[in-house]
């Protein structure tokens, strides 16, 4: 589904990703762990198509297409979703309005009929209930004044709503209380299917108890420096990153 080959990415003229290679097949969940500043969020932004993240080498192929050629909104319509590490506040735009606009924009791009306000409301309500997101939050401006955990929950609500083929979760677990963590993990697990793939970025092996990954990658200095099964996460937790970062820089 996703193939990243020897990817080099520069931000503001500075190279951040330095030859990253990673492949995820449909049906798989991969986890990326790695120290602060190793380039995890950079990778997630590049996959989502953020401006200013310049691909200086290598290639990203998504379902056989060269991802670099697609605008962020096209990627979204084609099933890529990024739950951001720091969701953005948009004052004055109610969450429900935002969800409706986004959902229908994606549908339009796929030539699917748009949903009316009532249909969207029903859909959002059912997803919100399963994630314990209170109705009142949907009426508030998007992420505006939301707590850290609430913002993360809203990201997962969006994932549930858009049902992406490739979901990238950038530290969605950071800032979540234990109950919320379980709800989020349930949400992710519900979406797992042979047609979908997920890339879960996290600092904590705890999340991987709930979302059990097929593969774990260790990222350091803009590269994947180690990979293995879910036991790698346990090893990391025990030993720290020192072992891998020594020769990464």
């Amino acid at each position: 589904m996703l193939e990243i080959k020897n990817l080099h990415v520069a931000v503001g003229g500075k190279e951040i990703l330095k030859g990253l290679t990673l492949a995820i097949s449909a049906g798989e969940v991969h986890a990326i762990m790695g120290p602060n500043g190793s380039g995890k969020s950079t990778l997630s932004y590049v996959l989502a198509g953020r401006e200013g993240y310049e691909i200086t080498g290598g290639a990203i192929t998504y379902r056989g297409e060269n991802l670099a050629e697609l605008s962020p909104e096209k990627r979204s319509a084609k099933g890529i979703f990024l739950a951001m590490q720091y969701p953005v506040e948009i004052p004055g735009v109610t969450t429900l309005t935002f969800l409706k606009t986004a959902l229908n924009a994606q549908r339009r791009a796929r030539n699917e009929p748009e949903l009316d306000a009532l249909a969207v409301l029903k859909l959002v309500r059912s997803k919100a209930a399963s994630l314990n997101v209170p109705e009142e939050m949907l009426k508030r401006a998007l992420n505006f004044g939301f707590s850290g955990g609430e913002k993360k929950k809203l990201e997962i609500l969006q994932m549930a709503l858009f049902e992406p083929a490739l979901a990238i979760l950038d530290e969605t677990d950071s800032g979540l209380d234990i109950d919320a963590l379980k709800l989020v993990a349930d949400g992710v697990n519900r979406l797992r299917s042979p047609e979908r793939a997920m890339l879960v970025i996290t600092h904590y092996q705890r999340l991987l108890n709930f979302i059990v990954p097929d593969r774990v990658h260790v990222m350091a200095g803009g590269r994947i420096v180690a990979k293995g099964g879910k036991e790698l996460a346990l090893e990391l937790e025990a030993k720290g990153y020192g072992h891998w970062t020594k020769d990464a820089a």
């Binding site: 989502a48 198509g49 953020r50 401006e51 200013g52 605008s71 962020p72 909104e73 990627r75 979204s76 319509a77 979703f81 990024l82 951001m84 969701p87 953005v88 506040e89 948009i90 004052p91 004055g92 735009v93 309005t97 935002f98 606009t101 986004a102 959902l103 924009a105 994606q106 791009a109 401006a141 998007l142 969006q158 858009f162």
Partner: protein, 483 residues
């Protein structure tokens, strides 16, 4: 046959950019070009006005001849040649239509294209519409229902003939004939507009609305609106404006006067979408408008809401004279300028009475090479004990070449007055845009969404029937603002 040069072919070519930019191919009757006493007499005669009205106009005309155009606003435009324009243009139908059945079908077609069906049965429930095409009012709907409630809602030309006493008593009582260059010009040559009178204690049973349409070329539009809310009454009124796309600049100089007597409330909303000119700044309406409300009675309230997206130049300051004790004035404004548009707009809140309160919420959005100025005066007179004002001015910039300016004037001459002013300037952040696009929302739609969010407090003030239209307009007017 002046308006015939452009045809419906043009309409198709316009595409989505300015969808109201078509011209209606209809025979027009005009006054001779230029301005002199004969033209003023011509207009007055066309309207079948009584002599007092003609004298009033002539007085204004003579005064205007001695005045000079104001230059203090932050807008720049080549000198207007007042002799090189028509001051009266009307669709050439023999007599004034009595009912909708007699209105020229081409006109009805025009309003349909504008999304304003004039046939009563098709109207938005509860909205009565008066439609002014160039210089004359072509149709007023729901008249009978309003008459039942005692509400007078008719073209001002009709009111001058049929409700002369009311008009004579109130016309020019808020905006005096000599008020300013453009208002004085309007007083001399105004051709039509809307008149509303809501009797004592009556809550107007529906939204009232007027659509102004400039169609003929080289023609100025000078409409005059007069709304009187008698004691304890309530009325909500909305005006919408559109004009065809033309290379030349056209002058629009309206005057609106509102009078709220004791305990009365007037809510006046505007969605102004005159043709703004093209991406290079060619063409567009010069919109020089004087709007003022007088809270004449105690505990009266006047609330202005405006969504200004059109016009090459906007020069308008809907104001409130807070004369009555405990009266309230409000001004909610969205002014969007894109490409080469210039807007200098704001309000004046004149606190004369005790315990008067005013609230100003202004949202200025500037894109392209546009300039957007908020200019506001809060004046508290010595007798206005305990006057309160709250002003909030937010500017949003899209791109690097546009400008936003805030010019507040505060005069507090009573020690107990409390005047608060807050101002912010911001940009649409890259991370906000990326957040939207990464969720599938295309850039332009994302800008429209974010800007609508920025304007929310003001949009919420609009009557529900029009809020959705206004939101769309916000998006349309910002098209092409992001690369």
């Amino acid at each position: 046959m002046a308006a015939v040069s452009e045809t419906k072919k043009t309409v198709a070519e316009l595409g989505e950019k300015y969808k109201y930019g078509f011209v209606t191919d209809i025979e027009m009757e005009r006054a001779p070009k230029g301005l002199n006493e004969d033209v003023v007499r011509f207009i007055s005669a066309k309207k079948g006005e009584p002599d007092w009205m003609l004298q009033w106009r002539l007085g204004a005309y003579r005064r205007w001849r001695e005045m000079t155009e104001p230059t203090w606003a932050r807008v720049h435009y080549p000198k207007i040649d007042y002799e090189d324009a028509y001051y009266y243009a009307a669709p050439k139908t023999t007599a004034k239509p009595k009912g909708l059945d007699e209105v020229d079908p081409k006109l009805l077609e025009t309003y349909k294209k504008l999304g304003i069906p004039l046939h009563e049965q098709k109207l938005l429930a509860g909205v009565a519409v008066d439609a002014v095409f160039d210089s004359v009012s072509v149709a007023t709907t729901f008249k009978a229902k309003l008459e039942e409630a005692g509400v007078i809602f008719c073209p001002i030309s009709e009111a001058i003939r049929e409700h002369g006493d009311l008009v004579r008593k109130y016309l020019g009582s808020v905006v005096p004939v000599t008020d300013n260059f453009f208002a004085t010009l309007n007083s001399a040559v105004f051709s039509d507009g809307t008149f509303v009178y809501v009797p004592k204690g009556v809550r107007c049973p529906m939204e009232l609305s007027t659509y102004f349409r400039i169609n003929a070329s080289e023609t100025g539009q000078f409409e005059r609106t007069l709304i009187i809310a008698d004691e304890g009454s309530y009325v909500s009124y909305l005006e919408g404006c559109t004009a065809p796309k033309r290379d030349e600049h056209q002058l629009h100089a309206a005057v609106v006067e509102l009078i709220a007597l004791e305990g009365a409330e007037i809510k006046y909303s505007t969605v102004q979408n005159w043709y703004p000119g093209d991406e290079e700044g060619k063409g567009g309406i010069y919109n020089f408008v004087t709007k003022r409300g007088d809270c004449r009675g105690a505990r009266s309230k006047i609330s202005w809401t405006q969504v200004e997206t059109g016009s090459a130049i906007t020069w308008k300051y809907p104001s409130c004279i807070l004369r009555g004790e405990g009266s309230v004035g409000e001004f909610y404004s969205i002014a969007i300028t894109n490409h080469f548009q210039q807007a200098d707009t704001g309000t004046k809140m004149i606190h004369l009475g005790k315990n008067t309160r005013s609230r100003i919420i202004s949202k200025g959005i500037s894109a392209g090479k546009a300039q957007n100025t908020y200019r506001g005066l809060v004046s508290v007179h010595p007798k206005a004990a305990n006057a309160r004002n709250y002003t909030q001015c937010d500017s949003l910039l899209i791109g690097r070449e546009c400008g936003a300016h805030t010019v507040p004037y505060i005069e507090a001459r009573n020690k107990t007055a409390r005047v608060e002013h807050e101002a912010t300037t911001s940009k649409i952040a890259e991370d906000q845009l990326f957040y939207c696009t990464s969720r599938g929302i295309p850039q332009e739609e994302a800008v429209a969404l974010i800007v609508n969010g920025f304007c929310r407090e003001v949009l919420q003030q609009l009557p529900m029937e029009f809020a959705v239209e206004a939101q769309k307009l916000v998006g349309i007017s910002l098209e092409g603002s992001v690369a």
